[in-house]
């Protein structure tokens, strides 16, 4: 198998996301004359370093899945740029894009929905190879068997249909399909949230092993903070279509800067009944992404919010040692940067 192995320790950018927006038009009012926009992803910028796993966390509906889909061109961005190895993937023609897709793949959330129920597993895994015409005949069969081995499935089961497999096995089929073309970047869109906890860890370990073996770069989307902590090198936190904080894993979990991240981390249960936790309870609920006013996206629920937060949108800026956050109150809050959870649980 030919795999481009990345030189370890090279910290160069593989993907640069700049000012990406995805607005869904929502027609409202009499005869749908008024068009409003649902800002699922609103002006997001960050880099992904070659060979790393960037975790993307946030609650349901914050736009993390949309962002992942935009990054592999399954959804057309409203504005912004994604540079993949200096190639502007949004400007590719549809023909060029189809060729380029082999570099970036996606593993989907629902293993029951992401496999065609009328295709055999070998056909599902072989499809990308057939499309690109990389393997034919006996070679194709060999490659499919090889891929099944790589993801821990027995090639004996190649002629089975997806419904004959368990959820975890199906997810492995999805991973095998994503790996078929030797991509460099894989978006893992909540790949384990539909699985049992025991199967979750197996799948995560598989993803980690594959990353090491093939030098893959992951964007790992999840709402499960402990899973993200386990697998990520860096973590980005999303709220209401915005990335509000991005830092190295340890840094983010030990000393979060953004109030939303703090609240999020304080909500994680700690498996220690005697531990008194300072839990931050947020008031109200997440506002609709359609009704967001000016200012900071979190201002309506933030306990630190002042006038400036409701009027001016904070910059997403480096607050030292590659720890980026978007909050006006960070300076004021420096001393209050609390280690909310020193006993952070490790999910192994």
């Amino acid at each position: 198998m030919t795999v481009e192995t990345q030189t370890p320790g090279r910290t160069e950018t593989l993907i640069r996301v700049s000012n990406v927006k995805k607005w869904f038009p929502v027609k409202e009012g009499f005869a749908n004359l008024k068009t409003d926009y649902l800002k699922a992803v609103d002006d997001v910028s960050f880099d992904i370093i070659r060979g790393e796993t960037l975790g993307l966390v946030g609650e349901s509906g914050c736009g993390k899945t949309t962002l992942g889909r935009v990054m592999v061109c399954l959804e057309k961005a409203t504005a912004g740029k994604v540079l993949f190895d200096d190639v502007d993937i949004f400007s590719l023609s549809s023909k060029e894009l189809r060729k380029f897709r082999r570099n970036m793949q996606i593993v989907f959330q629902d293993p029951y929905d992401s496999l065609n129920p009328r295709m055999k597993v070998e056909e599902i895994i072989a499809e990308p190879l057939q499309i690109y015409g990389t393997h034919r005949g006996a070679e194709l069969k060999k490659r499919v068997a090889e891929l099944m081995n790589v993801v821990g499935l027995s090639p004996v089961h190649a002629r089975r249909f997806p419904h004959e497999f368990s959820g975890g096995q199906r997810q492995r089929v999805g991973v095998a399909r994503a790996l078929a073309l030797n991509p460099r970047f894989i978006v893992c869109d909540e790949p384990v949230s539909a699985l049992d906890v025991s199967i979750q860890s197996q799948t995560i370990n598989l993803l980690e092993d594959l990353q090491e073996e093939f030098g893959l770069t992951y964007l790992f989307i999840s709402h499960d903070l402990s899973v993200v902590k386990h697998i990520s090198d860096r973590v980005a936190v999303m709220y209401l279509g915005k990335v509000v904080e991005l830092a190295d894993r340890e840094e983010l979990y030990q000393s979060p800067l953004h109030p939303y991240t703090k609240a999020l981390l304080s909500a994680v249960p700690v498996p220690n009944p005697r531990l008194e936790k300072k839990r931050i309870i947020l008031e109200g609920s997440v506002p609709s992404p359609q009704e967001r006013g000016p200012g900071c996206c979190f201002s309506s629920r933030c306990w630190l919010a002042e006038d400036i937060c409701r009027e001016e949108e904070p910059y997403f800026e480096d607050c030292g040692s590659n720890h980026l956050a978007a909050c006006h109150m960070i300076e004021k809050d420096r001393e209050a940067v609390c280690n909310l959870n020193p006993d952070w649980p490790n999910k192994e």
Partner: protein, 270 residues
């Protein structure tokens, strides 16, 4: 489950039986369906004529046996035309979406709002009466139903993640339709198509009964029935036999629809 399967097999056997009869009609039928035996007109059943003879002395049994050919041909061809048209138009509509979908569906609504019978009669009037006209009329009238079904299936299946997955591995639109959307959308079409054959058999009989379908001496069950109604007291078999033939064939297609649906679903396979 078992009894349902059993009834489905009954349907299969009926259809296969009619197909065998239609294919081997020249060997099975005791007489030529066109030959008029002037010495035995309106005869009761006998060894020579098992179901008796009609007004011009033709063997009733032979005419009914040959009639299976007409009914099956009309059923298969008209559903074939209607389903192919509907599949093509519905696929485009469901896959493209947007204004293309709205225009096509508007057209479908217009065609569908026409009374089937009236449209078919108008068409046969233009094309002149005969079996071809009945077949074309049925095909042109029935496609909107298939188009609607395939479109709604496409709209549902298009949302599935495996279609996104295919797109993300670089599949072309044609490949997505052929390998992913159609195989997951076709099952209801097969079922509706089988039931459509039952309807087509009935409509053909109706048209031939009215004199708009098969022209003499073609032995359509509808036209035999039409002749039989004049002699229903003297020769009830002349009405009962073609009536029963129509009923059994329609029943067979209806039962067969279920069987096919089960076979098409890999999840029901053991």
């Amino acid at each position: 489950m078992f009894s349902k399967r059993k009834s489905a097999y009954v349907g299969l056997v009926i259809i296969l039986g009619f197909i065998v009869i239609a294919l081997f009609a020249p060997w099975i039928a005791p007489h030529d369906y066109r030959v008029q035996d002037r010495s035995s007109i309106m005869e009761s059943p006998s060894l020579e004529y098992p179901l008796g003879t009609d007004r011009v002395g033709r063997c009733l049994l032979s005419r009914i046996i040959y009639g299976a050919r007409i009914s099956l041909t009309v059923g298969l061809v008209s559903v074939g035309i209607g389903a192919s048209l509907g599949l093509l138009i519905g696929s485009i509509s469901g896959y493209m979406g947007g204004w293309v979908d709205r225009v096509i569906m508007g057209f479908v609504d217009i065609v569908w709002s026409f009374p089937t019978m009236l449209l078919a009669i108008a068409l046969t009037a233009i094309l002149q009466p005969g079996l071809q006209s009945v077949i074309i009329a049925l095909g042109l009238v029935s496609w909107p139903e298939y188009a609607r079904i395939i479109r709604s299936q496409f709209l549902a299946v298009k949302q599935k993640e495996f279609v996104e997955a295919a797109r993300s591995v670089g599949a072309s639109d044609f490949r997505i339709i052929k390998n992913h959307l159609l195989p997951n959308s076709i099952a209801p079409i097969i079922v509706v198509g089988t039931l459509g054959m039952a309807t087509a058999v009935l409509v053909e009989a109706t048209f031939s009964y009215l004199g708009l379908g098969a022209q003499p001496p073609e032995p359509s069950w509808g036209s035999i029935l039409s002749m039989g109604k004049d002699f229903i007291y003297h020769q009830p078999l002349m009405s009962i036999a073609p009536g029963l033939a129509i009923m059994i064939m329609v029943l067979g297609f209806n039962l067969f629809g279920d069987a096919i649906r089960d076979i098409m679903d890999p999840r029901l396979k053991n």
